[in-house]
Symmetry: C2
Subunit: 134 residues, 2 copies
DNA sequence: CCGATATCCGCAATGTCGTCCGGATAAACG
DNA sequence: CGTTTATCCGGACGACATTGCGGATATCGG
């Protein structure tokens, strides 16, 4: 409580300064959220975990394992591939996909583990707020 | 390879089975991607990292530190709060927000670190594909 | 009590994203 | 060589989230 009786623009200049320096740059935030956006889709995450378990799968088998539409899987894979998360290996008329090797893969493994874990312990809060009555 | 000359529904039944068991359940995938969807927004992630650095901030100071619209920040906070990522503390006409304590917080710290790190080393691949010629 | 202010909320407009559907391409089989 | 099959591509359609604005609410200062 070091402020005067009223509050003008910055209520707490110290913390505002701290927020400024500890914050993501706009560019990093953009890049990061693009990636998160790619992961923010049930079919895509299920594809990734399926590939994590099976190493490599073609579109049809993927659709079979996930009980999803071939087209939807194909589209999802296209998005994942565009962002470098999966790699395609052509074998005749079949397209085999696997997680991209390199820095992406160990990260994905770790992140999916953590997120998977979090999703499990996160209670279903459809529209719940905190601080209901006040 | 152990398959016959042609391929019917499952090209590789073994891997399909592996994918089935290693895969996220539909419910978990849903829950997980909802959370990822919340994180997949530049303003929201910047808010989270700002709160991570400053501990607690009111809407106006947050908007100030992030150079964003008050309304946008307010809306973003509403979304974050609805999903239990931040907590509100009312102080007069001001609303102070902080990262939710508990299991969410250490996860967020870790995930944001990792993702932040990944975003840095992930090269900008706007429309790049792999396997260009053959 | 009255004016100023911080925040929240409802509503409408906008843009983006995923899915469905038809067809195109290319390869395997007989 | 023709047929069947696996996958990809493009356009249309619908759902959804985000934003901006005007107003409502409640608090602070005098």
């Amino acid at each position: 409580m070091a402020g005067p009786g009223t509050h003008e623009h910055p209520v707490d200049p110290v913390r505002v300064a701290a927020a400024r320096v500890g914050q993501l740059s706009a560019g990093d935030a953009e890049q990061l959220t693009v990636l998160l956006g790619v992961l923010a889709d049930p079919l895509r995450t299920r594809i990734l975990t399926a590939l994590l378990a099976a190493d490599e799968l073609c579109v049809g088998d993927l659709a079979l394992a996930l009980e999803a539409n071939d087209d939807a899987v194909s589209y999802a894979l296209r998005v994942l591939r565009r962002h470098g998360l999966v790699t395609r290996r052509a074998a005749g008329r079949l397209g085999f996909y696997r997680l991209t090797d390199g820095h992406t893969r160990p990260f994905l493994v770790e992140a999916l583990r953590q997120l998977q874990d979090l999703a499990r312990r996160q209670p279903p809060q459809p529209t719940g707020q905190n601080e209901p009555p006040g």
